[in-house]
Each structure stands twice: as structure tokens, then as C-alpha cells.
Symmetry: C2
Subunit: 196 residues, 2 copies
DNA sequence: CCCTTCATGTACCAAATGGTACACTACGAG
DNA sequence: CTCGTAGTGTACCATTTGGTACATGAAGGG
């Protein structure tokens, strides 16, 4: 069985290493040196390099989903509120390196690496489902909630991509603010309240 | 201007190869075989593997900027119009593989690979500048245009990421439509930024 | 106290890697 | 014709690669 002791610990260390040093073109020996073990141990616990990468991808996905949960678990939420919360959480400079790792894995998974691809769809799907469920408690139709959650996620990810590339926090903040303002109080698209 | 003859031709072939086969963990020999040449030739024309990758990244960036130009060159445009046009262009399934390559490179550039990072910022910056210039001809203040262009780009990229992962064209279309509807006709009046 | 099981280190391997040396061709300019 | 220069093929190299074989260690149950 996948003993959560040594293996999990090692996996966390590998993720941290990738977070700092990038995951491109790393040999098992580099990784092992980076986490203070031998490449032999990585093979022992994960079987092969590819399986290691898959485990990393899976763990990173799990972690991002936890971040989502922390945000959407905050009770009531209109689209603009959720997006603002998510942005505040995700734009934290302390998380920058981890976000970079996420996008690096994501990009890699999009291209080939068949074993990683399903995770990506799941990632988004689970996020949408969670939001739909949350919205249901407010009597919001599932289809509407799904569309808005999807858009909110896209805005956040798109701006995060921008922020990580340009480092322009003020500019991306302003863009997110513009979005949230246009969506303030919006639950279903028919009800745009013209209050200021 | 390094001779646009052999080198450029080779570069295009490499990009096409990466588009089809992915760029992760490819050796010079794999690439060479994929484009019908020898790894010796790649070294001859590009000097080293890293320089090859940089050349690829630069060329891909150029290509995406051309895509942008094709969209924003279409005369008048409010935020929702530009976004709709851009989405229609970018969500074309025929471009899927290329977009995947773009995001793979982007993710890789975000992590390490110092020589690639500047390109990313430039990519966004040039897009924003182009939009600001276009908006200026309509008397739209630069700051406002910049914010909206930024948001539009983020929405498009975020939804594209979603589309490529999930393949859910209908869902992403709906999300983009929701966004565009909320922004329809928006130029400035709704976004008075007295402070940031 | 032995036996088994999980964990780890050492040594090794065949294959592949990025890069180089050198010889050769093609060809346009003088 | 000759010469220089750009392009290409062949052969090679030292190093590194992912992966394996085997011995060892530590823990725990019988």
C-alpha cells in the first residue's frame, strides 16, 4: 500500500523542490539531491520518473482544490464576492512560486502526458460542481451558477497568469476590480441592478 | 536577421513538431528526427538546445501577437466586441494544438528559464499598448482602455485554458457570452476610477 | 532469536544525451 | 580554375540518464 509516511513526506519535499527550482529538465538525481535523498529512493517509492511526475501533478491538483474549498466554503457568495475572495487569496505573492509550478504542470499536462490530462478536467469540473452546490442553497439555478463560476475561475486564472508574468499587481488588481464591479450582486444575468 | 532561409524553415518545422508531439523531455535527436534532419543541423543553426528553445518561444510569441493584431486591427471595438472576436478566433479547434504549445511554453517560461521570461511580459504589454492606442482614436482614456483590455485578455486566456482542458465548448462559450453581455457597450462610463 | 518486511545505500549498466572535430559538398565571386 | 563560405554527414566523446541487482539495516512478530 501507498504508506502515507515516507512516501508522502518525500512527495511534499519534491513539490517544494519543484516550486523553488522549476520542474523542467530535472533528472531524478537532481531532484533527489534537492530533497536530500538518493535517486534510488525516488525510484523505490514511485517506481519510475513518470510516475513521480504524475504523483506530483495529482498532489498539486489536490492542493489547489483545497485552496478553492477554503474560498467557496465561506458561506454566502455572489459572483463578485467569490472572485474577490479568490483573487485576494491567489494573488498573494507568497504563493507565487507555487502558482508558477501549477501553471508549468498544467501546460505540460495539456500537451501529451496522457496520464495527467484527466486531472485537469476534473480540477475544473469539481470547482464548478462545488459552486453550483453552494449556489443551490441560495435558490440559484444550476445552469446560471455554473456559467458564473466558470467565468469567475477564468478571470482569476487569466489575471493570475498576467500577474505572474508582468508582476504588475496594481494593474491586475484594477482589472479584477473592474470585473467584480460589473458583476456586483449578480446572481442571474437578467438582474443587473443599476445601483451604484 | 539570421538568414530567413534555412534557419527559419527549420524553426517552423520544429514548432510544428512541438505542436504535434509536445515539447517536454524531447532530445535534440528526437526533434531532429521529427523534422527530418539531424541533431547536428539543429546545433549548427541554433548553437545549443537552450537557444533552440528560446528561438521557438520567441517565434511562438510573435505568432500569437499576430493573432492579436488580426483581431484588434478590425477597426472600432468596445470591450465586448473585441472579446467576442478574440474568442471566436482563439477557440477554433484547428488551433487547439498550437494553443497547447503556447501554454506549455508559457508555463515553462514562468518557472526559471530566465531567458524566456521577459518575452511573457512583453507579450501582454504589447497587447495592452495596441488596445490603448486603438481606444485613443475613440477618445477613450488610456487608463480605462488598459484595464478593459487587460480584463478581456484574462477572460479569453482563462476560458481557453478551460476549453483546452475540458473540451467543453458549449460551456466556455456560454461563460464568454455572459461576460460580453455584461460588458456590452462599455467603454468608460461604468468605470470611474477615482482611486486604486 | 530468527524470520520477514520495509527501507536504504552502493555499485553498476546499457542507452541516450548535448556537444565537438573533421571531412566533404555545393556554389558563387574573383 | 580557385578559393572561401555556408551547409551537411559521419564519427566520436565524456557525461548523464533512468533503471536494476544486491547487500545491508532496522523493526517487529512468532
Amino acid at each position: 500500500m501507498k504508506g502515507n509516511s515516507g512516501r508522502q513526506q518525500l512527495l511534499d519535499a519534491v513539490i517544494e523542490h519543484f516550486t523553488d527550482d522549476g520542474l523542467a529538465d530535472q533528472s531524478l538525481r537532481h531532484i533527489a539531491a534537492g530533497v536530500g535523498t538518493s535517486h534510488r529512493m525516488l525510484l523505490y517509492h514511485f517506481g519510475s520518473k513518470e510516475e513521480l511526475l504524475v504523483a506530483v501533478a495529482r498532489a498539486v491538483e489536490e492542493r489547489t482544490l483545497d485552496q478553492f474549498a477554503a474560498v467557496s466554503g465561506a458561506g454566502e457568495a455572489t459572483t463578485d464576492e467569490v472572485v474577490r475572495l479568490m483573487w485576494a487569496h491567489v494573488a498573494d505573492p507568497a504563493l507565487g512560486d507555487f502558482e508558477r509550478l501549477f501553471f508549468a504542470l498544467y501546460g505540460r499536462a495539456l500537451q501529451g502526458d496522457e496520464r495527467m490530462r484527466p486531472l485537469l478536467g476534473e480540477n475544473i469540473q469539481r470547482w464548478l460542481d462545488a459552486n453550483v452546490a453552494a449556489a443551490a442553497t441560495q435558490g440559484v439555478p444550476a445552469e446560471t451558477a455554473r456559467v458564473h463560476a466558470r467565468l469567475g475561475l477564468a478571470v482569476t486564472r487569466g489575471l493570475l497568469l498576467d500577474l505572474l508574468a508582468t508582476g504588475d499587481r496594481a494593474g491586475t488588481d484594477a482589472a479584477l476590480d473592474a470585473f467584480a464591479r460589473h458583476y456586483s450582486g449578480t446572481w442571474c444575468e437578467a438582474t443587473i441592478e443599476s445601483a451604484s
